[in-house]
Each structure stands twice: as structure tokens, then as C-alpha cells.
Symmetry: none
């Protein structure tokens, strides 16, 4: 019978994860020492290790959280009956999300995870690289092609990849230049979607 509630433990985990996210976003996780996390979280070494087994475990927790968030966003994005409208909606939801400064900070982390996933197989599995979205989108595109509403000569998976690239590339550019204009970018993306569906 624990002395503290499950809520209490959860709050402490949050405290640690949030501290880690802040440190990682600022300095990158390789440059972030456990001492940095202790200081940022206001907890002692022992306390932090009571919640996470290792630094890698914290990184994994942060990655899992991101993964879950992205998965949630994409989850029913394509459930819309009308693909064209669904895509427009998804794009707007996605880029609206990117207006939040807190989310921008977390995106800096996402970029680091992308890189880290290249040399850490264990992390690679926990990093959101858009696969589910790409797969769903490709299926939806293929459907649209069969129904004649989408250009038939393009490979659905390749189209999905380009769509994903448009999102990923923007995340990257925004991470480098936080002030980049979102609206104008979205306008181009919208016109791209329409171009695919024809007049």
C-alpha cells in the first residue's frame, strides 16, 4: 500500500519529463547531463532514479510521449469521408498546433529524435516517423484514384511521402527559424492539395 497516491507519482514523473524536455530542447540530449535534469526538475539524483531507471529511460519516455501525441493527431484525421476536405482539415490542425510556442519547443526535440533514431535502433522504434499516417494516406489516395478524384498516374505511397515531407520539412525549417510565416506556407500546401485533386 503506497504512502503516496498514484497521482503524486504521476506528478513527479511529469516534473522530471518536463525538466528533461526543457533541457533537451535547449541543449540537445547528449549535451544534457543528468545533473542538468536534477537541477531543472528540482529533484535529487536518487529521486529521479526512483522514477526512471536511466537517462535512456527518460529519453524513451519523452519519445513515447511525442509519439502518442502525433499518433493522436493523425488518428482520425483521415477518417473523413471526403479525402480532399480531410487533408485540408488535417493540414490546418497540424499547422495550428505548430503555432503553440510550447509545441515548437517540443518540435526541436522531435528533430533531435529523427537524427538519433538513425544510430539508436532502440529509440528508432519509439520515434514518430509518420509511418501510420503515410500508410493510411496512401490507402486513401489509392481509393481516391479508383474513384477518379485523384490523379491516377502517381504512386499513392510516393504521394503520401511527399505530403509527409511537406510537414517534416516545415518542422525542420521552423525549428531553425521560429519566426517563419505559417499562414503563407499553409496556403501553398492547400493549393498543392487542390492541384492533386484537379480542378
Amino acid at each position: 500500500m503506497p504512502k503516496v497516491s498514484s497521482d503524486y507519482r504521476e506528478a513527479r514523473r511529469r516534473q522530471i519529463v518536463d525538466a528533461a524536455v526543457a533541457c533537451f530542447a535547449r541543449q540537445g540530449f547528449h549535451r544534457t547531463s543528468m545533473q542538468d535534469i536534477f537541477a531543472a526538475s528540482g529533484l535529487s539524483a536518487g529521486a529521479v532514479y526512483g522514477y526512471f531507471a536511466s537517462k535512456d529511460d527518460i529519453v524513451a519516455a519523452v519519445a513515447d510521449e511525442r509519439h502518442a501525441l502525433e499518433a493522436a493527431l493523425f488518428a482520425d484525421a483521415l477518417a473523413a469521408s471526403d479525402l480532399r476536405q480531410g487533408l485540408h482539415d488535417l493540414v490546418h490542425a497540424y499547422f495550428d498546433w505548430l503555432r503553440d510556442p510550447a509545441e515548437q519547443e517540443r518540435r526541436r526535440l522531435a528533430v533531435q529524435f529523427w537524427a538519433e533514431a538513425l544510430s539508436d535502433a532502440h529509440l528508432a522504434q519509439r520515434v514518430s516517423r509518420g509511418e501510420p499516417f503515410r500508410a493510411e494516406l496512401a490507402t486513401a489516395i489509392a481509393g481516391a484514384q479508383r474513384s477518379g478524384s485523384f490523379a491516377a498516374d502517381l504512386d499513392p505511397d510516393a504521394v503520401a511521402r511527399v505530403a509527409l515531407a511537406v510537414l517534416q520539412g516545415f518542422v525542420l525549417q521552423q525549428a531553425w527559424e521560429p519566426g517563419v510565416d505559417i499562414d503563407r506556407y499553409v496556403a501553398v500546401v492547400d493549393s498543392l492539395i487542390d492541384a492533386g485533386f484537379g480542378p
Copy 2:
């Protein structure tokens, strides 16, 4: 008058940079120790430090090399009189380049530099983030809009950003999945260019 020829020194630098690139691509540069580079290059610690002042200095040299290569590719890509054709040519040149396994290895590095540039201001200046290309392309697009050959309602800089994103996103996806089909992706990109220029 140097004791050893400049060629000799240059060959040694190459040896070190190549070894570093191989290590970085495989393990990421934070996980790559100087010992790893000594072993991979076949040189001693003292020898390596005779050519580079620090690990950061090697990283900078690697980044500079990449930067120069990319700059060269984009340099006259847009010098073509016909923008539409110039873009198609650039895209084909760019993606052909990505068929080379050696280049793919170097691209894994590029992705790491993207991430690193977020927390290392010094490195940020040496990492190719496509700015010159974007600027030139935006200018060219604006010109095309004035001459009526490109959709007038889109922001030229945003269009350039999307174009860049399409390249960056693919580099990312290829780094994760080396087997991704290039031809199908290029076909979509080609059709995108044509969509921008209208029928």
C-alpha cells in the same frame, strides 16, 4: 616553406575527415569518440591533433565539406533561363545524387547536423539548411509570377520553402529507409512542379 608538401597534409586531412564521416554516419557524432576516429583513420592521437585542433574542429570540417557540396549543386541550378526546366533538372540532379550509397551515408550525417544546429550556434552557421537555394528560388518564382508563368497568388518564399521541404523530407525518409523508391517520388515532384506552372 613547409617540411611536408601541402599535398601530403591534404591527404592526411582527407584520411581523417573520411574516417570521421564513416564513424559519425554509423554512430552519430556524440557517440563517436576521438579514439574511434584514431582507429578508423589509422592515425595516432597526436597525428590527428596535428591536423585538427579539437573534435569540434573535425565536426566543423565535415560540416563545411557538406555545405560546399550542396552549395555547388544548387549554385547554377537556377541559372537556366527557363525556370520550369531548371527546376526539373535540379530535381533530377539532386535525386540522382541520392542514388549513390556513399552520398546516402553522408546524408545520414546531414540529418544529424540539422539536429545539432539547433543547439550549437557555432555549428549552425556551417550547416547547409538550404537558405541560398530558397532565396534564389524565391526570387526566380517571383520573376516567373511577374511574367505570368507561375501561379500568382502564392507567396514566393513559401513556395520555395515547400520545395525545400520536399527535398529535406525525402532525405529524412531515405535515411530511415534506405530502400525507398526514388523514381516514384521524383515523378510526384515533377508533377508538382508542373502543377505550379499550370497547364
Copy 3:
């Protein structure tokens, strides 16, 4: 007047000491953490520290218990009027004790205490190293020599040391090889005793 009965406290101490003995026997006491003892005893950190002031205090309690047990065995072993018979009886009692698996486990601990006593002066005083037995035996041997029943040319203390060594060496060997044959060893020891007393 204590709040809880003395019996209750005693039962808790047992619980802790038993848990510690089990852990120490398995992993050695340096490799046994207090956490291990908490887990093995089923008590909380605070509870254990309510009974023992420190880890060393637990170790001391375990050592004291062993010391008391061995002292009890040897106590009246040599009170017998006939030394030869007394020795045979002692040996049989001692080795019968070593047939008990629980005692064998405790003996693994004894071996650790032997080693630890070399570098921990505080513990050295609480570890049974056979001195009282040796002293008594030497006195008894000297008596037997005066009465002509034991070989006169041997130093009584040295004889006692050899006798002790025969017990200690076996404890060591049994700790390493729990399956070692006790009966055959005892037979040799018996014949050794008889050899000392002559035909």
C-alpha cells in the same frame, strides 16, 4: 513500559536477521544492499531502521548470533573427563551439525566473516575464530600429556591449532562443494585423534 511487547520486537528482529542471513549467504554482505534486506524481510526501510541503527549493526547482530551458537557447541564439549572420548564426541557433534542445510547456509556466512574480520577490527571481535576452543583444548592436551596419555613431544597449542584447522578447512571445503562426503572426512579425523593418543 514499552508500547509493544518485547516478544513482538524480538520477532521483528528475527525477521530482519533471517532475511539478512539469507541475503548475505547468497550474495555476500557487500553485495547485499539495504534494499535487498527490506525486500527479503518484507519490512520497510523505516521499520528496519527502527530495530537496527545501521547496516553494520545488522552485520554485527548476525555475527554475534553465530558466535553464540559456536560458543555453545564448544562450551562443555571438553568438560568430559576422558579427553579422547570428549574429542570424538565433539567432532561428531560438530560434523552432524554441518549436515543441516540451514547450517550450511550460515557457514557460508561464517567464511565471509572470517575474511571480513581481517579488515574490520570492529567485526573481528564479534567473529568466532575458535579461540576459546583452542585455549581449552590446549589446556586439556597439556593435562593429557602430563598424565602420559598424549604424545609428549608436541606443543599443546600447536596441536589445538591443527585440530581447529581440520574443522575450519572442512567448513571452507564444504562451502565450496556442498556435496562433500562428511562421513569419510570424520573417519579420518577420528583416526587422527586416536593417532595422537597412541595405541
Copy 4:
């Protein structure tokens, strides 16, 4: 091509092993920190780790050295044609060895290894527990029994175990009491050997 000779490296290893032996003998190896070894050896952390991969590796090297020394002593001890004389010679050689204060210090270590071998399977294989000696002695005893020169009713292996115990027990007692009289102990052991072989 190493810059320093193999002798140089060997000397450094010695320096480290000797420092470790001194520390271990004094404080036990669990209480000996790597810092202690750095200080005792006069080398830096990095230097020590250039020769040994870990603390355990140093412990293993120390254990191996002991093992080799003991093996060498016992190696041809029993090669003598006359077992009785061979045993007397071995005993005298063994106990003479124990007169050396440096050897006494190393023996304190041996006792610690005995204990450690109980909970560290990896170390157990590197610790001399007298098996080869015991096996050879048992074989020799069996031979002597067949030729009628040794008491036929005793189990050869048990006799060998008792003989080993007499050595082990003394090592233990001497570790506790460095001043213990060797000559008197040897005299008893000699008479024990003779008792086994009869008049």
C-alpha cells in the same frame, strides 16, 4: 609499433597490481575504491584503465597471479618417488613460504578470495582452492595404500581433504594472528604425516 617496450607495460601492470594487492590486503577489495588504487599506484584514473578494463579485471588479475603461484608450488611437490618424504618436503616448503611477510600479506588476500568465490562464480574459477593438489594427493595416497605403506582403511580423498584443511586452517589462523608460531605447527603436521604412514 608501440612507443614503449613490452617491459614498460609490464612494469606498469605490476605497479597497479601491487598497489591493488596492498589496498585489498589492508581494507578488503570491497572497501577499496578505484581512487584508492589510483593513489596507491601513483597513476591517474585513465592510466590505470589503460591497463585494466575494470575493477573486476584487476581483482581477476590478482587472483590469477595467486592461482599461478600456488599451482607452481604444488606442481611437482608430489612428483617425489617417496610419498612420505615428498609430503614432508611440501609441508616445509609451504610453511617456509608463509614466513615471508610479503607472502603473509598476499595470504590475507587469499582468504578474501575464498569468501568472494562463494558469491562470485566468475571469480570462483580463478581462485585457488587446492583442487589439483587434493586430486594428486588422493591418487598418491591410493597408490601408497596399494603398496601397503599407508593406512588402508581411510578414504584417500578424505585424507587429502584433511591435509588440505591443515594448510588452509593455518593460513586462516596466521592471517588473524600474524605472530603464530610456525615451527611448532609444522612439528605437529610432520608427526601427523608419520602417523598416517605407521611406524
